[in-house]
C-alpha cells in the first residue's frame, strides 16, 4: 500500500494535466467559458444572501455583514460536496481508462478533488473582492492558519473520495445515498447559521463530532472573525484526516484489482 502511495507522487504530471483538462473541458462550448468559475459562486451566494438577509431576516450583529459570513463557510463546503459527488462517479466515468489502459485508478478521484479545489481558490478571489467592498478584512496575523485549514480539508476530502469512489464501483447505491447525506450534513454544519447560536451550543457535543464543523468554524474564525481559537480541535481533526486518508486509500488499494472487472 505504501509503495503505491509513494507512486502517487510520480503521477503528478498526469494529475496536473488531467485537472487542466477537466477545467478546460467543463466550460468548452459555453459562452462565458472560464468566467463561470466566478459566476457560479456569485450566483449561489446571491441566492443564499437574498434568502437569509431579505426573507429570513438575520439580526445577529455578530455576523454582519452576513453575506461575507455566509461566503466563508459556503465556499469550502461547495468544494467539499462537489468533490465527493464527482469523485464518487469518477471511476465509473473513467471506466474506459481503467479497463483499456494501464492507468493508475487513484488518479481519478484525486483529479475530481483537485479540480474543485481550483474552483475553491478562484472563489477566494471573489471573497477577497467582497472583503474589500465591505471593508472587513481579517488581521494578517491569523492568515497563516488558512493554508493549514485548507490542507486538512484536502487530506480529509481525499480520504473520503478514495473510499467512496472505490465503493461505488461495487455499490452504485453510494451515489444516491451520498447526495442525501450531503444535504443533511450541510444543514448539520454551522454554515448558514453561526456556530455560537444558542441552539447550537445546546447540542455542542453532537456538533463537535462533525468533522466539517471544525473546518467551517476554522474558516469563519480566520476569515471572518479574525481571531483563531479553534487550533486544538483543528489539529485533532488533522490527525483524524490523515487516518481517514490512510483508511480510504487502504480500502481503495484493497479493491483496486476488482475495478477493471467491475466497472
Amino acid at each position: 500500500m505504501f509503495s503505491n502511495l509513494g507512486s502517487l507522487f510520480r503521477y503528478r504530471g498526469l494529475i496536473q494535466s488531467l485537472v487542466a483538462r477537466e477545467l478546460k473541458a467543463r466550460y468548452r462550448g459555453s459562452l462565458l467559458g472560464f468566467v463561470w468559475s466566478f459566476v457560479n459562486p456569485l450566483l449561489l451566494l446571491s441566492i443564499y444572501s437574498f434568502v437569509f438577509t431579505t426573507i429570513m431576516r438575520n439580526n445577529d450583529p455578530g455576523t454582519a455583514p452576513f453575506v461575507l459570513f455566509l461566503f466563508c463557510g459556503l465556499l469550502p463546503w461547495t468544494w467539499f460536496s462537489a468533490s465527493l459527488i464527482e469523485a464518487t462517479s469518477s471511476l465509473i466515468a473513467g471506466g474506459n481508462l481503467i479497463k483499456k489502459v494501464l492507468f493508475p485508478a487513484e488518479v481519478l478521484p484525486i483529479v475530481s478533488v483537485l479540480a474543485n479545489m481550483v474552483h475553491f481558490v478562484l472563489g477566494l478571489v471573489i471573497l477577497a473582492a467582497f472583503m474589500i467592498v465591505f471593508r472587513h478584512y481579517p488581521p494578517v496575523g491569523v492568515l497563516p492558519w488558512f493554508p493549514i485549514v485548507v490542507a486538512v480539508q484536502l487530506v480529509f476530502t481525499l480520504g473520503l473520495a478514495f473510499a467512496l469512489s472505490a465503493l461505488t464501483v461495487h455499490f452504485r447505491d453510494v451515489r444516491d445515498l451520498l447526495a442525501n447525506v450531503l444535504t443533511l450534513w450541510f444543514f448539520a454544519t454551522p454554515i448558514i447559521y453561526p456556530y455560537f447560536m444558542p441552539s447550537v451550543s445546546r447540542f455542542l457535543t453532537l456538533f463537535r463530532l462533525n468533522p466539517f464543523y471544525h473546518l467551517a468554524v476554522s474558516y469563519q474564525e480566520i476569515l471572518f472573525f479574525g481571531q483563531f481559537g479553534h487550533a486544538r480541535s483543528l489539529l485533532l481533526l488533522a490527525a483524524l484526516s490523515v487516518a481517514v486518508f490512510l483508511a480510504g486509500y487502504w480500502l481503495f488499494d484493497r479493491l483496486r484489482d476488482s475495478f477493471a472487472e467491475a466497472v
Binding site: S17, R21, R28, G29, K100, V101, F171, R254
Partner: protein, 422 residues
C-alpha cells in the same frame, strides 16, 4: 536470449457479479481464498495455468478462437488485471494498443488530447512536444488537430490513438486486434511501424485473428484454446497446428451434416433447381459417397492445390449396360464450378452388376478457399436418373493464400529487375 515477457503458470479467474454483492465486498476485503470458497460456481476461468516467454526483440503472436483468453492474456501482461495465480514479468516500458484513444476527452482538441494521452502512457510533456509532429503526421490529421475530438470520424479517432501509442516508444508493445480499423493504407503504415520497431530490438506482442499476419510478422506464437495453452513456438508451426485443429472441428461439423442428409433422403425435385435432394428409380443406387484426401484418408476439408478423390459405392439391383456416372461441383453461391460425366468423356457403358466402386480423382484441387457442394449421380444415357444426389455433400477448401473468384490456377509472378517489392 533474455525474455521481455514471461508468464509462469498464470491463471485468471473472473468473478461474475450477481445479486450476492454483499458477500462479494466482504470477501473481497477478507481475502481471495475465502472468496473463492464462498462462490465456487460464479467464477469463470479465462486463463488456465498458462506459461510462455517472449524473447526480447521478437514479435510474438497470440492466436486462438474468440473467447480463448487472448485478450485476458494481453491485459495480464499489460498489468491492467492481475493474474489470480501465477506470475507475470515484463521487462521495460509497456504500451498497450488495446483500445485506441481510450483516454480521449471528446470536448477538447486533438492537440490537447495528444498531450494528455501521451502523459497517461508515460511520456513527459517535453517528450511529447518533441514527437508531436511525428504523431500528427503519422495520424494524417494536420488540418484537424485543433478541432475537438468529438468532431472526428471514428477512423480519425483511431488513427490519432494509434499514433500516440506507437510514438510512446515503448520497449514492449502490446497490440490487440487494432489493425482492423483504418483503411488499407493506414494498416500498411502500422505494419511498417511494427517492422521498424522490431529492427530497433523492441518486443511486440500481437493478438489477432489475422493468421497470415502472425506468420509474416511474428517469430513465435502461442495458441490459446479455452484459456489453456495448446502450443507455442515457431509461428508457422503454431499457425499450422491451429489451422489443422480448426479444419478438424469444421470437418466434424460437416461430417455431422453429411451423415444427417444421407440417412434421410429428400424426395425428388426438379433437377434444374439448385436445391438439395435425392431422387431416381433406385435400380442402381449410390450407397455411400466418401471424400478422400491425398493420403487416402476420408476428409471433408482439403487444401487448395491438393489431390483429392470422390469415391462412390454403387449397388446395382440387376445387371445393366445403360449407365452414366456424373459429378458436379458447386460453390456456395450455387455456381457450377465443374461438372462432367462418363458419357461426356466418351466412355461407352458395357456392364455394371452387384456392388461396385467408382472413384473420381482430382489431381489438384485448384479452387479458392470456400465451402463447396457436390452432386453425384448415376443415370441412364437418355438422362433418366437411377440415383441422383443433389448438393448433398459439403466439402471445404481451405487456403493459406489469398485470392478471390472460384478458380485458383497454379501461378507465379515474374518481374523485370526494375520492379521491386519490399
Amino acid at each position: 536470449m533474455t525474455s521481455a515477457i514471461e508468464l509462469s503458470n498464470v491463471s485468471k479467474i473472473y468473478r461474475r457479479y450477481s445479486a450476492r454483492r454483499f458477500a462479494t465486498l466482504k470477501s473481497a476485503l477478507l481475502g481471495r481464498s475465502l472468496m473463492r470458497e464462498l462462490q465456487p460456481d460464479e467464477t469463470f476461468m479465462a486463463l488456465k495455468d498458462v506459461s510462455f516467454r517472449v524473447p526480447k526483440g521478437s514479435a510474438f503472436g497470440v492466436i486462438g478462437r474468440n473467447g480463448s483468453g487472448k485478450s485476458t492474456a494481453l491485459k495480464v501482461v499489460a498489468g491492467i488485471t492481475k493474474p489470480t495465480t501465477g506470475a507475470v514479468r515484463v521487462d521495460g516500458r509497456v504500451s498497450a494498443l488495446i483500445e485506441l484513444g481510450a483516454g480521449f476527452h471528446p470536448e477538447i482538441s486533438g492537440r490537447e488530447n495528444v498531450f494528455i494521452n501521451g502523459i497517461m502512457l508515460g511520456l513527459s510533456k517535453r517528450e511529447i512536444e518533441r514527437r508531436f509532429d511525428d504523431i500528427v503526421d503519422f495520424a494524417e490529421l494536420r488540418d484537424f488537430i485543433d478541432a475537438p475530438v468529438k468532431t472526428y470520424s471514428s477512423g480519425m479517432y483511431m488513427r490519432l490513438g494509434f499514433a500516440v501509442a506507437i510514438n510512446v516508444n515503448p520497449d514492449v508493445l502490446l497490440v490487440d486486434e487494432v489493425l482492423a480499423v483504418g483503411d488499407e493504407a493506414f494498416t500498411h503504415k502500422c505494419l511498417d511501424k511494427f517492422r521498424d520497431f522490431r529492427r530497433r530490438g523492441k518486443t511486440i506482442l500481437l493478438v489477432t485473428h489475422m493468421l497470415s499476419l502472425v506468420e509474416r510478422l511474428c517469430d513465435e506464437a502461442v495458441w490459446l484454446d479455452g484459456g489453456e495453452k495448446r502450443a507455442d513456438g515457431d509461428s508457422k508451426r503454431v499457425v499450422d497446428a491451429y489451422l489443422t485443429a480448426v479444419d478438424q472441428s469444421e470437418e466434424r461439423s460437416l461430417a455431422a451434416t453429411a451423415g444427417h442428409l444421407l440417412s434421410s433422403p429428400v424426395p425428388a425435385a426438379n433437377m434444374f433447381q439448385a436445391t438439395e435432394g435425392r431422387w431416381g428409380s433406385g435400380d442402381v443406387e449410390i450407397v455411400r459417397v466418401t471424400l478422400l484426401a491425398h493420403d487416402g484418408q476420408p476428409s471433408f476439408v482439403f487444401q487448395t492445390g491438393e489431390a483429392m478423390s470422390i469415391r462412390l459405392s454403387i449397388r446395382a439391383a440387376r445387371p445393366t449396360s445403360d449407365f452414366v456416372f456424373g459429378i458436379g461441383l458447386f460453390n456456395a453461391d450455387g455456381v457450377c464450378c465443374f461438372g462432367t460425366n462418363t458419357e461426356l468423356e466418351h466412355m461407352q457403358p458395357e456392364q455394371l452388376s452387384g456392388d461396385a466402386e467408382v472413384t473420381f480423382g482430382i489431381e489438384a484441387l485448384d479452387l479458392v478457399e470456400g465451402t463447396y457442394k457436390l452432386d453425384v449421380a448415376v443415370h441412364k444415357q437418355d438422362g433418366a436418373p437411377y440415383d441422383y444426389h443433389r448438393l448433398l455433400y459439403t466439402l471445404r477448401v481451405a487456403s493459406r493464400s489469398p485470392g478471390v473468384g472460384i478458380f485458383r490456377p497454379r501461378h507465379h509472378w515474374a518481374f523485370s529487375s526494375n520492379v521491386r517489392f519490399r
